[in-house]
Symmetry: C2
Subunit: 239 residues, 2 copies
DNA sequence: TGCAAAAGGATTGTCAACAATCATCGAGAA
DNA sequence: TTCTCGATGATTGTTGACAATCCTTTTGCA
């Protein structure tokens, strides 16, 4: 679900969703300058609604606007991703602890069914993380909803999740992580069933910090290989 | 400090700061409809910049905008304040734990000096919480900065603190809470000096949850007395 | 040849008018 | 009397043009 159902609304809203998708998928690359006139013409709208859309994107931290200097797509460097996962660990941990005491039995049951559906999809597609990725957001989103804390829900769903999707789109090959993640999700649901908020928070924090550790290590390898190829090509080309 | 120094910038920015102040001080009351044309004329600007200002205020959760229905000042009901303090406890607790390992000795020293200055002001004015209130924000703001987590800093300083100021402006008579709060601040600094992140987080969380408990009890009394006067007037007026 | 300053172009900020949508009020019929 | 439907007014969404600001390039001077 994740609030992508009806792009019908004001022109600014539809432009906002289109821009969001373009940034997450990499169609608009990091650090790229966003020209208002060009984008407005491209989407067939005036500059007014487009500026409103850019403001919304700024709220989601997908673009950074500087007065008189325009808007640029955010650059997801390692430091920012580390900050993001640290904040996410704190917020989702809290959401999980609160949800353990506030979710209804029916909601927890639905959550378990969701996991079983994920398991089926994983077994069927055998590695097609793509559907699973969105499903993972569904899982975390449902828990956020279960906290019954509207401010927390807004922060997670409205501001952080888009950035997370952007992170994942880049680091999309961590299929090794899928099955352990599913198992961790199951344990979290178990803790929710037991109404053990403390345990649920600990498991969620471990789940998220583990995900970050995995991504971080992958970025290390990525960076190393890049450095190697760089030095090699530099040595090879000579100049 | 708290970034209120130079309202000079784009027209939208100055309108944003003026509107923020007007909402926090209660000049614009809760739930009030914000007419774009009226406000624009009142501030001597066009509707474009004013809409931008409203969008910024929406980001700070000071107003709620609904498409085709306009913007209204947020209504700080008890549930929302509870949500706010719960999120704040998680975020500032995390900030405190991280700051314990990342702040420099000089920064922690400055923090201690800040507390001594607060103590002097409290003793001098003897209950003038007003300057102390901003000083309190300075304390928490400095710790947020000490976390070196830009996303966390943005969330706390840019989005939550204005709402907190709004809360305080309403519940401005809790002078009994000042001295204990100062003492708690001192203990937090002690934990920072000892580089004990876990203890620092626990102390900060206790500090915040205590503040919420105090406000909550005060609202209970407030509500009770309101209910009494309401029933009494209802009974008296007869009708 | 290198640097600095000014002119030019491009981009953003701002404004006023137009169109679309929603809320309110009143009239008419059951 | 009450409910529904329609018209009117007000408010928001949108557009295009104008003004202010910044970046780039070019020209002049050391």
């Amino acid at each position: 679900m994740l609030a992508l159902h009806t792009p019908e609304g004001t022109l600014a809203d539809v432009a906002s969703t289109r821009l969001t998708q373009a940034i997450i998928t990499g169609e608009l690359i990091q650090g790229q300058k966003l020209n208002e006139s060009d984008l407005a013409e491209r989407y067939g709208i005036g500059r007014g609604p487009l500026r409103e859309a850019l403001r919304q994107l700024e709220g989601m931290r997908l673009v950074k606007r500087i007065p008189h200097a325009g808007a640029r797509v955010v650059t997801l460097d390692r430091e920012m991703m580390a900050d993001l996962y640290a904040v996410r660990e704190a917020l989702e941990g809290m959401a999980c602890r609160t949800a353990a005491t506030r979710m209804t039995d029916a909601e927890i049951g639905t959550l378990r069914l969701l996991l079983e559906k994920h398991a089926e999809q994983i077994e069927a597609t055998d590695g097609q993380i793509y559907v699973q990725s969105e499903g993972d957001f569904d899982f975390h989103y449902q828990i956020a909803l279960g906290s019954r804390n509207q401010m927390l829900i807004d922060l997670l769903a409205g501001e952080l999740y888009q950035l997370l999707r952007m992170c994942r789109y880049r680091t999309s090959r961590l299929s090794k992580r899928i099955l352990p993640a599913l198992q961790q999700h199951r344990h979290i649901v178990d803790a929710l069933v037991a109404r053990d908020g403390e345990l649920a928070e600990i498991l969620m924090r471990r789940h998220i910090s583990g995900a970050w550790k995995s991504i971080s290590e992958m970025m290390d390898e990525e960076h190393d290989s890049n450095t190697i190829t760089y030095t090699r090509s530099k040595t090879a080309s000579g100049s």
